[in-house]
């Protein structure tokens, strides 16, 4: 039997104890906050599979204190038994879903195109328009972020009525593009500033025009930033409620408007509301899990100069 020759000194052993308590506290807090962040999602998901008595009892764990039923999803027309049948609710839901998808995707793409062009120009050339230099033009774009939507809402309501753009997809697309454009410019300016100008110079020596160099050399390099800006815009536009509630009524309603209108009505049952909410947030949960890297990159872009 070997005897232990080297021992931790007393000071080291207290250090280890301290280290362990530190670990426990950190992990305890982390797990606590993870529960705080995830429990509402879990609750909504399980509630969509509950029946009335289960909801009343406040049951939490499926198969243990309640048996999952497709009740909520059946009323949406999305359960296995109803998926192949006719369902007006499902039609309504899918139409709203489709509207949300079209509006958020096209406005995000439009914002990324316009925004990255502007950000590139501002990071490479110096402009002068009246009294405004580059810094002023950048500030002009970014200051749009401060503008509260409520200031634009009523003038737009009146303008759109005159232009017959009320309750149309294109009307919302224009507004949403406007609302995410500053964020896109912010992220992309950061992105382009990190790309050395020698790349374009080399391309132009080889006979590329400035637009050719931008499209074939710079954009592919800046792609991660563009994806980050796109994802962030998608999240913001998908969730937008205020403009959608004011400017659409029957035809171009988006998903948040549908969720909100269901919340108010008394007739709607608990489980189908849970199913609807969960269906509305599901795409974002998937995006969040799959593309978390890009979201963090996008939000971090402005933070660290």
């Amino acid at each position: 039997m070997t005897t232990q020759i080297f021992r931790d000194s007393a000071a080291d052993r207290t250090f280890r104890a301290k280290w362990w308590t530190g670990r426990v506290v950190i992990y305890g807090l982390l797990i606590f906050w993870a529960i705080v962040a995830l429990f509402p999602i879990y609750w909504t998901m399980t509630t969509s599979f509950k029946m009335a008595p289960d909801v009343m009892k406040g049951s939490l764990v499926p198969w243990w204190d309640f048996t999952p039923k497709w009740l909520g999803w059946k009323s949406l027309g999305l359960s296995p038994s109803t998926i192949f049948e006719q369902s007006t609710v499902r039609g309504e839901f899918l139409r709203r879903f489709y509207n949300s998808a079209v509006i958020s995707v096209s406005s995000s793409i439009l914002a990324v195109i316009l925004g990255s062009m502007a950000a590139y120009g501002l990071s490479r050339f110096s402009y002068k328009f009246l009294w405004m230099k580059n810094a002023d033009i950048s500030f002009f774009f970014l200051s749009q972020l401060i503008l509260p939507p409520v200031v634009l809402a009523l003038p737009f309501l009146v303008l759109y009525r005159e232009l017959a753009l009320l309750d149309t997809q294109i009307g919302l697309i224009l507004l949403y593009t406007l609302s995410v454009l500053p964020i896109v410019i912010w992220i992309m300016r950061d992105q382009f500033a990190g790309i050395p100008t020698e790349l374009e110079e080399a391309a132009m020596v080889d006979g590329q025009t400035i637009w050719g160099a931008y499209l074939t050399i710079i954009l592919p390099i800046a792609l991660p930033g563009m994806v980050a800006a796109l994802i962030l815009s998608l999240v913001l536009t998908w969730n937008e409620y205020f403009f959608a509630a004011l400017l659409t009524s029957t035809y171009a309603n988006t998903l948040p408007v549908m969720v909100a209108s269901q919340t108010g009505s008394q007739g709607i049952s608990w489980w189908s509301m849970a199913a609807l909410s969960f269906a509305a947030i599901l795409p974002l949960i998937i995006i969040g899990i799959g593309l978390e890297r890009f979201i963090i990159k996008g939000m971090a872009a402005g933070a660290v100069k």
Partner: protein, 367 residues
């Protein structure tokens, strides 16, 4: 103009007279088309002629045509310079036409009595809206609520900083925690207001209400008394937006070189002092950015208020945005609502400018 360019381009622009004239014709001809179309439409509205227009779409199309011609004309007239302008011009035109124009239009609306549901149409009424606003206790109440909501950013910031510090510590499963912490930010506020505000806080069987009962609160009603309702809204909003600040601060923490903290430790700084005298001052610029952006989002707070309490009880949870939203929804009073929004905008601009100036000066003085 080319001085100061980061990217130097030597271009031999060879712009012939025909190309120049064509470009100038585009730049000056298209606004003429726009003016003509607008004039014809105005004649129909105010002049009593009937050209068969049902809406202002033709003017809109003429405006789009004008914008396109302006962009193209720049390239034709200015050559290489024009191609550079083309990078910024579309975005600038887009923003100007969608904000500056509606804002000017909004100013006209703000000084008029205009109820969309009444048949009289718009009537200019001067300062009457301002006077009405001055005597409107609910608007002042909403403004004061906004002050409280804004003050709630401070605890949010502290929690976010703590979370970021923990995520930045040497822990396992960092990716899981990052994704989990990020989740609330991804969810639509309207869905969140049902999930938390309406179902989890349901007094009879919501899990949060049950938890509160266990903790000794006899009758957990989260929206009955003004201050409880207000704090509940603050908590819900914090739940959504803490991840946002957390990620910005985390990015800042990760950008701090490790050597600095090691140097501090060598110099004998223990945990708390190392944080307070090294990490925190280094994080100030990021913190200020994060708080300012959070402030901007906070000032737009409306969705959860509209869908959970619609301002109640007695306007205790009202934000300016939700108040104006209801003002329009209930009374379709466009003129008064716009005036309220404009006043709010002025307050925001003044406040933000002062804040940014102060932050700027503070940063300059401390470094």
């Amino acid at each position: 103009m080319s001085e100061g360019d980061l990217l130097h381009v030597v271009a031999s622009d060879n712009i012939g007279p025909t190309r120049r004239i064509l470009g100038l014709a585009l730049i000056w001809g298209s606004p003429a088309v726009l003016a003509l179309v607008a004039l014809v439409q105005m004649l129909q509205v105010w002049g009593g002629f009937d050209f068969g227009f049902t809406n202002w779409r033709p003017t809109l199309y003429a405006f789009v045509f004008y914008a396109a011609c302006l962009c193209w004309g720049q390239v034709l007239v200015k050559g290489e310079q024009g191609k550079r302008i083309l990078f910024v011009l579309p975005a600038a035109l887009f923003v100007v036409s969608l904000t500056v124009f509606p804002l000017l239009f909004g100013l006209i609306i703000a000084f008029s009595d205009w109820n969309l549901s009444s048949p009289d149409g718009r009537q200019f009424n001067g300062m009457a809206n301002l006077v009405q606003m001055w005597h409107d206790p609910f608007y002042w109440n909403a403004l004061i609520n906004m002050v409280w909501y804004v003050l709630a950013i401070l605890p949010e910031y502290i929690v976010a900083f703590l979370l970021a510090l923990m995520l930045n510590a040497d822990i396992r499963g960092q990716k899981f925690f990052r994704v989990a912490f990020l989740m609330p930010l991804m969810l639509s506020p309207v869905a969140v207001s049902w999930m938390i505000g309406k179902s989890m806080m349901e007094t009879r069987f919501g899990p949060l209400a049950n938890l509160m009962k266990h903790l000794g609160w006899e009758d957990p009603s989260f929206f009955s008394s003004p201050w409880i309702a207000k704090s509940t809204m603050m908590l819900m909003d914090a739940w959504t937006f803490i991840p946002f600040m957390m990620i910005m601060i985390l990015a800042g923490l990760q950008a701090i070189p490790k050597e600095l903290q090691e140097a501090a430790r060598v110099d004998g700084a223990t945990g708390w002092r190392a944080f307070w005298e090294v990490t925190f001052p280094l994080m100030l610029p990021v913190s200020i950015t994060a708080v300012l952006i959070r402030l901007i989002f906070k000032l737009k707070l409306a969705d959860i208020v509209i869908s959970v309490t619609s301002g109640g009880p007695g306007g205790a949870t009202d934000t300016v945005t939700s108040f104006i939203f209801r003002e329009y929804r209930d009374r379709s009073n466009v003129g008064y609502g716009t005036m309220l929004a404009m006043v709010y905008l002025v307050i925001i601009i003044v406040g933000m400018t002062l804040l940014m100036k102060a932050a700027d000066r503070y940063m300059k003085s401390s470094y």
